[in-house]
């Protein structure tokens, strides 16, 4: 973990976070757009690395995708301003305005860039891409939310996330597809209420952070590395619990927001949607389990001289979050007690 403390990167992180603040707190579409642009321009330096061709390629792809989405967003904002009166709604405008946002967050029909770019990033950047970069488009989506259209997007997200992940061996792609699947839940939650979305997003980011940090510290990028490298059993176990939590298995924290969403969806009579969500998260769970469970039970050839060292001080920092991630669901019942 000799990660150099880079002040330039600090600066860009700062801009990254504040650009998001700009766009989600601005009260005009142009302000939102400006925030998105600043966000893009600050994220590019973070992910690009002169020494690594893959990262450079990823940054270029990211730039292309995001800029095309931004151009279109700007175009449709202006078009809407031009053609529609204030507070006037038009379904096709809504679709047109939603599409670039979906592209920006890597949602289903336009998600092809997402696993590709993830493949070229480091785990921390993956984490930012999977969580923080989704805040802005998601909030903007909620401003101009077209239900009937977005339900299809949700279903698509859910199915594609599950189907894409099942054949993957790259953990980053796997996490990307898992993120796509979770995106469907997030869009569903933002359809219900913003608080619900906030809760889902927070818990998802927490678990995702843990996973990404874990993979980062263990320096794992592919599934077979889980079997090769001498990872301690307890760490494998935590990894597995976190993955189950991410998939939404009941005793863990990840189930909690999904539970709430399922509850609200059923109250609002989205039965088919709920069914698809649950079935697809079953498949998600299947390949989460396949990632870790077989590394418990199968006997693999291990590298004898390859030991993974983890700084205990750093690791212990995460322990408390791990505990929260695992025991969060029973703990969260305290919320309802008071």
């Amino acid at each position: 973990m000799n990660y150099n403390f880079n002040t330039n990167k600090m600066f860009f992180y700062f801009i990254l976070f504040f650009s998001t603040m700009i766009s989600i707190s601005s009260n005009s579409w142009l302000g939102c757009w400006i925030g998105l642009e600043i966000n893009l321009l600050s994220f590019i330096p973070l992910i690009s690395n002169v020494n690594n061709l893959l990262m450079t390629e990823a940054s270029l792809k990211y730039f292309l995708v995001q800029s095309i989405a931004s151009i279109n967003l700007l175009f449709f904002i202006l078009m809407k301003m031009f053609f529609l009166k204030n507070f006037e709604f038009n379904k096709i405008y809504m679709i047109l305005l939603n599409l670039p946002l979906l592209m920006k967050m890597g949602s289903a029909p336009f998600h092809f860039w997402f696993p590709n770019i993830m493949e070229g990033l480091s785990w921390l950047n993956c984490f930012i891409l999977m969580t923080w970069q989704k805040i802005t488009p998601m909030i903007l989506l909620s401003y101009y939310f077209f239900n009937n259209f977005l339900i299809f997007i949700m279903i698509m997200n859910s199915i594609i996330g599950a189907l894409g992940g099942i054949n993957q061996i790259s953990l980053r792609k796997l996490m990307a597809f898992s993120s796509i699947n979770n995106l469907s839940w997030m869009i569903a939650s933002i359809m219900i209420s913003e608080n619900m979305w906030l809760m889902y997003f927070l818990i998802y980011s927490l678990i995702n952070l843990l996973m990404c940090m874990m993979f980062f510290m263990l320096n794992i990028f592919y599934i077979n590395q889980m079997f090769f490298s001498n990872i301690k059993l307890i760490i494998k176990l935590t990894m597995m619990f976190n993955l189950l939590s991410l998939g939404g298995l009941p005793p863990f924290l990840g189930f909690f927001p999904k539970w709430m969403i399922i509850n609200y969806l059923i109250i609002n009579k989205f039965f088919i949607l709920t069914f698809i969500f649950i079935m697809m998260s079953l498949i998600m769970l299947f390949f989460y389990i396949r990632m870790t469970y077989s590394s418990f039970i199968l006997n693999y050839i291990k590298l004898k001289w390859f030991k993974i060292k983890m700084k205990n001080s750093f690791f212990s920092l995460f322990n408390i979050i791990y505990i929260f991630s695992m025991l969060g669901l029973p703990l969260s019942t305290l919320l309802f007690y008071f």
Partner: protein, 573 residues
């Protein structure tokens, strides 16, 4: 451990002897009851009935078991878990006692099930596959009897109490009592290994020899006979007893023939037990419970002795049970041979040994009764067969050439075994006359023509001659049996009864479950739930990944195209 157990059991038997004499003299019956629970006018009672019969039987059981425990100190001396063995034997004896003393169907079930369970534990005592299979056969065959007892308990609920002894005469013509009696007969037939269920008895020879001595003399197999003796009043002159007469006669016959085909020392003895059980059952079903009981007791003595001698011989012969290896043992081990001979001859009823008193009386009572020729034939032919296999066994083990390895050491100075055998030797010498004087103080009147009276001697002489001849048969003559291969197969495999109760019974279920496993578990349900679903998803995933192989430009371009199309839609409206 052995000695303590021996001591207590022996003392117990002596106490029982004293009580037996006292009870018998004064014709006392003591009945004790403990009401466990009473609901809906039904009372579940643990009851104890002490009369001369139960006391005498307990005396014999505890005497034999004490001797067996003493014997197993030497026989099982190299056993690691000797204490467990002894405890199992003690539990076995205890459950037998429970069975003997209680005239209540529920508390009988306690002993009955205990016998089944502990006999299973004892048969599988040598933990190998053979004994496992034998134990499973034993346990499951006995389980049938348990189920019948349970069913008769259910029928007994009509009467509000399970003390059957009160209802035997009173409710004789009741429908449910008829059902009960049929079930009790079936239960007794499983325990006493009568014909449809007799395959477990030779299989149970997988148990250690002291256990065989205990199980096949006085405890497990006689439980059925004892139960029927108790239920005798109910079933006298009924259709069930007529069926039982035929079945037990056939058992006797079958066991006698099969014993002649057998070369395993213990199995021969087991089959002779089966034959004697058939004798007891048949005389019981003809309505002479006392005679059956008498034969049960004398048989218990000499059969236990016989098994113990067999155990000694097996010990000496380096765990070889095949009688073709033995021979000339009377020269090497005179004391054991003495015991073996006396018990064997007592088995076939040589005068003034204990078997003579009971067996001769039974056969003469059979001749006195009006019977058809078939049952008469079964009785006398089986008597001849008893002589046949006894003489054959004697010649094979005692007289013929010794066929074991050339370096051997047969020694007859294991006094732990010998002492315990001598107790039984004494008993099998005197118990016949002793009991006949004690129990039958009113003598049976027997009046027979001379040839019928001498019929026993005729068949015994012929049987003995046959046994002698067959034991001296050369290998060339043996090969002639191949001419009647199928017949020999039929007779030596106990009339295919092991096949009936093992393979013949479970092949259908095994086949069915095989098909079920193949078609459902590994077939359709796998295809439609587990693997099939995974395949579908995987194929979709492969199909989906095909879209990922496009150029990056195309993604972006498709996005633009989509937007333009929607824009066109907008402009069209």
């Amino acid at each position: 451990m052995c000695f303590i157990t021996f001591f207590f059991l022996f003392m117990f038997s002596m106490i029982n002897l004293i009580f037996f004499v006292y009870f018998f003299m004064n014709d006392l019956v003591i009945m004790m009851e403990w009401e466990v629970i009473s609901f809906n006018s039904m009372s579940i009672i643990m009851s104890i009935l002490l009369d001369w019969m139960s006391l005498l039987f307990m005396m014999f059981v505890s005497l034999i078991s004490s001797v067996v425990v003493y014997y197993s100190k030497s026989y099982m001396s190299s056993e690691k878990n000797l204490i467990r063995f002894i405890l199992l034997v003690v539990m076995f004896v205890l459950s037998m006692m429970m069975l003997i003393i209680s005239p209540n169907l529920i508390s009988i079930l306690l002993g009955w099930d205990g016998l089944g369970l502990v006999s299973y534990c004892l048969v599988i005592y040598y933990q190998n596959f053979k004994s496992f299979n034998a134990g499973m056969l034993t346990a499951l065959s006995n389980r049938i009897g348990d189920v019948f007892i349970l069913m008769s308990i259910a029928w007994f609920m009509n009467y509000g109490s399970w003390n059957y002894i009160f209802y035997l005469n009173f409710m004789k013509n009741d429908f449910s009592m008829i059902m009960i009696s049929s079930m009790i007969i079936l239960a007794a037939m499983t325990k006493s290994a009568q014909i449809p269920f007799s395959s477990w008895l030779p299989a149970a020879m997988a148990a250690p020899t002291p256990v065989s001595a205990l199980v096949h003399s006085s405890t497990l197999v006689t439980a059925g006979v004892y139960l029927l003796i108790r239920f005798n009043d109910l079933m006298l002159n009924t259709f069930f007893f007529k069926i039982l007469l035929v079945l037990s006669g056939l058992t006797m016959f079958m066991a006698g023939i099969t014993a002649n085909y057998e070369f395993d020392l213990k199995k021969i003895i087991a089959l002779s037990t089966l034959s004697q059980l058939g004798l007891m059952m048949s005389i019981l079903s003809m309505g002479f419970p006392k005679l059956a009981f008498f034969h049960l007791l004398t048989h218990a003595m000499f059969k236990a002795l016989l098994f113990m001698c067999a155990g000694v011989i097996i010990h000496m012969m380096m765990d070889i049970q095949d009688i073709r290896f033995m021979g000339g043992l009377s020269k090497y081990v005179p004391l054991t041979s003495l015991c073996l001979n006396i018990s064997n001859l007592s088995l076939c009823g040589i005068p003034f040994l204990s078997g003579f008193y009971s067996k001769d009386m039974i056969l003469e009572m059979v001749s006195m009764s009006n019977l058809n020729i078939m049952v008469y034939f079964l009785y006398y032919f089986s008597t001849g067969l008893t002589m046949f296999y006894t003489i054959r066994l004697l010649f094979y083990t005692m007289i013929n050439d010794f066929n074991l390895i050339s370096i051997f050491n047969l020694y007859d100075e294991d006094y732990t075994m010998l002492k315990s055998m001598f107790i039984l030797l004494f008993m099998s010498l005197v118990s016949g006359s002793l009991l006949s004087w004690l129990i039958f103080f009113k003598p049976y009147m027997i009046y027979l023509p001379i040839n019928m009276k001498l019929m026993v001697i005729y068949v015994s002489l012929i049987g003995g001659l046959m046994g002698f001849m067959i034991s001296n048969m050369k290998i060339f003559s043996f090969n002639k049996f191949m001419f009647f291969f199928k017949l020999s197969n039929f007779l030596s495999l106990m009339w295919f009864m092991p096949n009936l109760s093992t393979y013949g019974l479970n092949i259908y279920f095994l086949n069915f479950s095989k098909n079920l496993l193949k078609n459902m578990d590994m077939g359709w349900s796998e295809y439609y739930s587990g693997q099939g679903f995974f395949n579908i998803i995987k194929n979709y995933s492969v199909f989906y990944q095909f879209y990922h192989m496009n150029n990056f430009k195309i993604y972006l371009f498709s996005f633009i195209i989509w937007l333009m199309m929607i824009l066109l839609l907008l402009l069209m409206i």
